[in-house]
Symmetry: none
Subunit: 196 residues, 4 copies
DNA sequence: TATGAATGAGACTTCATTCAT
DNA sequence: TATGAATGAAGTCTCATTCAT
């Protein structure tokens, strides 16, 4: 029983890594089997089909890639708001975290696929909304704490979501941007100018 | 002569549309041939290989998707700077531009592929840099015109590039964001607060 | 395990026969599969590619077609030298042996191919040299036994090699030559005229 | 009219050279067209099919590769018999005759093909017989001139034919043999030992 | 006299999947 | 719990050939 669970995990992990490197369509069961060190049909013992495997991979990512994993709103105070927001964003950026890099790559695969096949479309959108809503809650908290102007707070949250999201994309493409400065700038811009 | 050119264009267009719908790997020569209404080997009369066809599609997009097609820096003045910047960005957004929708989808395909196969990687990066540099030139112009504070002007331009880029991505995914507000907000934020 | 080995052998044998009949290039995997009674992709379970299959066929022939399989030098004596040489040569000639006929045909295929693709060139030459050297050793033995004049013994051995080789070629082409007489004549000519 | 004839010859020549290099099956009409510098369908203006082209190539070779082109029996005398025989053979050997090298390669192609398709089989055999008969006439002449023992004269002629034929084969394969010595030896062997 | 454009047949190969063991 | 053996469908690509121009 333990062995089964182990192989299952190995298959998932191998698939995960291969998806990041070769894409979903570019990854064959043969490749996965070889990486795990099992035979091709063995995969069918654990997953009824390639599609099911894909979906499982998706769900695993889906489960982990959540706003609350990066930002803890309930720990935000007027004093640390800007700082928490800043460090949360930075922790999302692939470069800073190897694991993230692969996750993001596979995620991008799914996002692209989502536009074509409707299997994941819903969940992808849900995932993006999780972040959008997370930033909204965050802005609300900021307003509540008196560090963010209530005006256009929804657009502000979306701007933050977009920014952090695309910084990741650029990192993934290997384009170097001054992401700390950019993120800082984005945050500063949406915050109330107390000095005024 | 005309006939060849016509079929050539038909193949390109069909490929283009199919790439947008099914992805590069998900599009077979059989599908293209069927869509055009020719036989599979006929494609080889016009393109030496599938790779060559892919590359041509890529170059066509690459040729058109340029910063200067959307923003005309030389026509910017202190007075219309904000407005021009705003309208230029809006014109890039898929929803407002049917044609753009497909272009962006295929472009995304290439971007994803670029991370894996190094065929287009260089050109993709070049393309992204074209936009990054475009916004930089834009900020410089803004500084020159006295409507943008010189401080962190590079990070500002990157922020704008990221924002407009990712608004497109969200639209592609079918996630509705208040993109006009977001874009407005982004622009306002980077502009000098003359009222201060 | 046994099943695999069996199919493997069946593929090899079918390939062998088809090569003899239609040539290497003239034999498709479809033809092989049909002859064996399996599906085309099944061949790939046993051989990674057509080239690999070709090479295996080549090696099988290569392993069997050896001078020592036809001539046993160590059993030659002054008395039986001429006779052993004669019977060894005769046993090589295709007509006398159905199996040989196919082997020779396929071998000729490889020889022809060898001139073009350098895959087998080296081994083909090695094979020919095996026979050339075999006859040289044979002549040396003859000299040692005192039944062959040492003069030009190398040219003599080459003459024998050429003769037996081309008798085969003629048989393959269906040209009837008095091969027994020819071979006899060739042997007689190179032997020391003791009676003179 | 002249132009037509010229192109016709160019096609033949190109085909000839390509056959020698890539084999008959390995040579496509596209390759021929490219080498000549014309379009693929243009070949069909001069030859009704690839098979027809192949046959023409065959006939051209067939017309030139004749015993009488290398050996002039009517000029043989008792004195020069051995010498003429020797030089005639040497002139047939590819190494000594650049042109011959290609001819022999293509000829070998046809010989191999002949075993499979019955198109050329008859003519190939006829060609080989031309040489066999040539050597027979040659031996008869030798007998008539009193320099060759009448006994087994047919087998002797066949031995000579085989020998010179296979020296060519070895040269083609790039196996160096002492062909002058071999040929000399073969001739000496079949000649009457006048010194006895 | 030649070619531009196209095609049906078929080549090798890979894939996800099945099923008896 | 896993695999050995096999397969139908589909992929890219090449070939000899056709036909209107």
């Amino acid at each position: 029983m333990k062995k089964k669970e182990k192989t299952y995990q190995q298959i998932l992990e191998a698939t995960f890594i291969l998806f990041a490197e070769f894409g979903i369509q570019g990854t064959s069961l043969a490749m996965i089997a070889e990486k795990v060190g099992i035979s091709k049909p063995s995969i069918y013992y654990h997953f009824p089909s390639k599609d099911a495997l894909i979906e499982t991979v998706f769900k695993v990512i889906f489960a982990d890639y959540r706003f609350d994993n990066y930002f803890q709103i309930d720990k935000m105070t007027a004093k640390n708001f800007e700082k928490k927001l800043y460090s949360g964003g930075i922790s999302m950026i692939p470069e800073t975290n190897e694991e993230n890099f692969i996750v993001m790559k596979v995620l991008n695969e799914f996002i692209l696929t989502a536009g074509r096949e409707h299997n994941y479309a819903g969940e992808i959108v849900e995932l993006q909304k999780d972040f959008l809503l997370g930033f909204e809650r965050c802005m609300d908290k900021g307003v509540e704490l008196g560090v963010v102007d209530a005006k256009d707070s929804k657009a502000k949250s979306q701007l933050l979501a977009l920014t952090i999201d695309n910084i990741s994309n650029y990192m993934l493409m290997g384009i170097q941007v001054e992401y700390r400065k950019i993120w800082k700038l984005a945050i500063t811009n949406i915050m109330e100018r107390v000095d005024k």
